[in-house]
């Protein structure tokens, strides 16, 4: 199948939709809710309605936003509709009609006012570094460097996943990388605003981030967050109308390079693990192999693949701002993925995304499921430090 987007606008795509339902069978939202209205093909019918200039009601708007933007429907679509693009445009139309769910309006306002998703002061983006207890990390902020590590809001501001940037900078140090950090100068990458139907506000943030990078001598931008990666790699050039003068990498790719260059002293870990593909890294960006190469490079690891993996991987429930719209639904989707994870016999699930880690960890604890959830960076650091 050709993988370029055929997207021709809401009206045309809604007419092209065959209502065949191929998109529906693996949609994590439809699988939980069960009514036809929650299926992607129902969203396509609503797209037609909106494209015809109709106002939509709250119930309809909710169904549009009950979506993790996991891309499973796009992968399955029999007429090659770029459903993710459709969902983005639909969200924008709904936002313009002032019908977005209340929590998303709050999220939008928070990002607009603070430059991040939590509403923290931007200075708090540097707090995660303090626990490292070595000034060399702090000195990287604003320094010149070939590689910019773009931390992302979640990694920097959610204490629960601060261990991800902490692990990654230690890996960068071990590999003797010439890297830099933006610290408080970093703003949200814009991704949550696109999912909230606010592409113009997202564009402003993109420009703000680019302005801050200009003077740092950066050649490569690396992220631990798959959504930041996807934004920087695909959405920034699309929105700003020009290719970026930077190579964009995800942490899993850079770590894989380090391993090939023998820059990381990996030691044996006697663990049974599985890997959960984050939707924005796997299906939506096509990065499947590198995280697996990295895990399998660690001596002693017993790697078990889940039945649904790579392009068929099920979503953890944490994407598309769904948490802000319907956290009960997130929990149900996560529960299903956790059952698949434990079904492999793995004691540890590794992902490459702070949102997947948060979602799976919170729900594993809530449901007393005995599985350790680790980010790839944490797992690699553990092997280095063993």
């Amino acid at each position: 199948m050709q993988d370029h987007s055929f997207y021709e606008g809401l009206k045309k795509e809604s007419l092209i939709c065959a209502q065949c339902g191929y998109c529906r069978v693996e949609c994590p939202v439809y699988k939980q809710i069960g009514w036809e209205s929650s299926s992607p093909r129902a969203k396509m019918l609503l797209a037609g309605k909106i494209a015809d200039g109709n106002q939509i009601n709250e119930q309809e708007a909710l169904r549009i936003f009950q979506c993790t933007m996991c891309g499973r429907c796009k992968e399955q679509c029999s007429t090659r509709i770029d459903t993710i693009k459709v969902w983005e445009d639909l969200r924008q139309e709904i936002a313009e009609q002032g019908k977005s769910p209340g929590n998303l309006r709050i999220l939008t306002q928070t990002i607009e006012e603070n430059g991040n998703i939590t509403g923290d002061e931007q200075a708090n983006r540097e707090l995660w570094i303090d626990a490292l207890d070595d000034d060399k990390y702090r000195q990287r902020i604003g320094s010149r460097g070939k590689v910019l590590y773009f931390t992302g809001c979640s990694g920097a501001l959610y204490p629960q996943v601060n261990s991800i940037p902490r692990s990654f900078v230690q890996i960068l140090e071990t590999a003797e990388e010439d890297y830099t950090l933006l610290g408080a100068d970093e703003s949200c990458c814009g991704f949550p605003l696109i999912a909230a139907g606010q592409p113009d506000l997202a564009r402003d943030l993109m420009q703000r981030n680019l302005d801050k990078i200009k003077q740092l001598g950066v050649e490569t931008i690396v992220t631990t967050c798959p959504s930041c990666y996807h934004s920087w790699r695909d959405t920034y050039p699309e929105f700003l109308g020009a290719d970026l003068p930077y190579k964009i990498m995800h942490a899993s790719q850079l770590i894989n390079e380090y391993i090939k260059q023998d820059r990381l002293p990996l030691k044996e870990l006697d663990e049974v693990v599985t890997y959960h593909d984050p939707c924005d890294l796997g299906r939506n960006s096509g990065v499947y192999d590198e995280p697996r190469f990295v895990i399998q490079s660690i001596p002693g690891v017993d790697f078990r693949e889940m039945d649904r993996s790579r392009e068929n991987a099920a979503c953890c429930g944490g994407g598309g701002n769904l948490e802000a719209v319907d956290d009960g639904l997130v929990a149900k989707i996560a529960q299903q993925r956790l059952e698949e994870i434990t079904g492999t016999g793995a004691k540890t699930v590794i992902s490459s995304c702070q949102q997947c880690k948060r979602t799976l960890q919170v729900n594993a604890r809530k449901n007393k499921i005995r599985v350790r959830v680790m980010d790839l960076t944490e797992f690699v650091l553990k092997s280095i430090k063993t």
Binding site: K12, L15, T79
Partner: protein, 478 residues
Amino acid sequence: MTQKYQRLMEEFQDQVTRDDFERSFYTRDLASVPPIMTRLMFQTKPDLVVSPLNEECIEETMRLAIEERLAVIPRAGATTAYMNTVPADGGILIDLNRLRGVLDIDKENLLAEAWSGTPWYEVEQTLQKNGFSLCTYPSSAVAATVGGWFNTEGYGIGSMQYGCFHDQVEAAQIYLPQGKWIDARQEGSYPLSWFMGKEGTLGIVSRVRFRIRHLPEAEYHAALAIDSFTQLVSIINRLAGQAPGAYNVQFSDSDCFSMQADLGYEVPLHDRHLVCITYQGSAEEIKAAKKNVQQLAADTGAEMMPEQVGQEVWDDRLYALKIKRGGPTLLAGEVALSADKIPLFYQQVKKLNQRTAVYGHFMGPNKANILVQYYADESKNIQYLFQMAKTKRIYDAAISLGGRPYGVGIWNSVYLKRVFPEDILRQRKAIKQELDPLGIMNPGKYYSPPALLHPVLFGMGSGIANGISSLVGIGKGR
């Protein structure tokens, strides 16, 4: 709301809805029919939707329907296009998609049992994990369900070797509109043949048990380019007697590829047709098949295409709709026809004054199921009505050659009297009368056309539309 409705809703809370918003998504199927047509003739919105998670819910819903004499419309993947899954006059719609999963694999006797709402691809994945495979599946396997194919014609991928899915069914659990469960078997007081292919007009199927096979060791997809469908007939005639037998034979005409090429897809051919023959079996059998195909190509004047072409056509076998993007609407007529009539049928189809993509599967060595697809634009109302009328010419062509429409529902019920002998139609109606004396199961479908679709009126309407279309060019296709 009556007390009985209320009771059902209380007992099966999240499996029942009367919400207007929820019900509004069950008013159509694959076919885009102008509201002016449906509103005039039907009440397509169900009064209640039930999405059972278990058999108890089916039973209670059916009891309510029987007591209140309400119509019951079974709906699964809704990958059909003849309004089979849409209410003709309100009623209770039973959405079977949540009855999903493989229940049993009997490895010794090569049988599997699945909930009726399980999509075929999911059954196949589960079987493959255990070293088994389906004998046949529809080319809509991503979304079509076990119960859906049981209730429709049952031919598809693999039918060249294994025939109809209905022949592979060993048993089915069905709730009858008389108010009881039955375990239908090939033989017995409720033979499976009464129910299979009857489009949900005789009961709700909850579980189906069917034959499976060991996962083949190897497979091979041969792609042969041909210049005419007479060559296709020669190929299929030669294949009929050969060992090893072909698992699947499908064909696409040159317009299938030109439509794809227009959309920017890479295509293997531009001005010829393609036959793809799939063999599945032991490594030895595949070796023999490869040799046979070489000879077959030489004997019939077909050109062997690189192996990769066969593989790509096979990989695309569930994606016939990918050309729809060029429409945006894709109208279609699907027929069953004996193999030797394909060339004549093709000639007639190509006189439609419309580019048509013709694509088919063999249902066995001498019968094919042919899908004729053409572009239209439903956003242009009047023109669209004229374009729709052309499907009648496709069916007329097939019927004149001894073929018939594939599937009935509402829209094709107008052809029943032309394609089935009177005694068969009478027999079907008698079984319906016996099993569903209240006439509540999927009413308005399968047995006879609704009054406004009377065959004479329909024939006149379509004829006039086609006449005007060829005279003044309205609805003239691309």
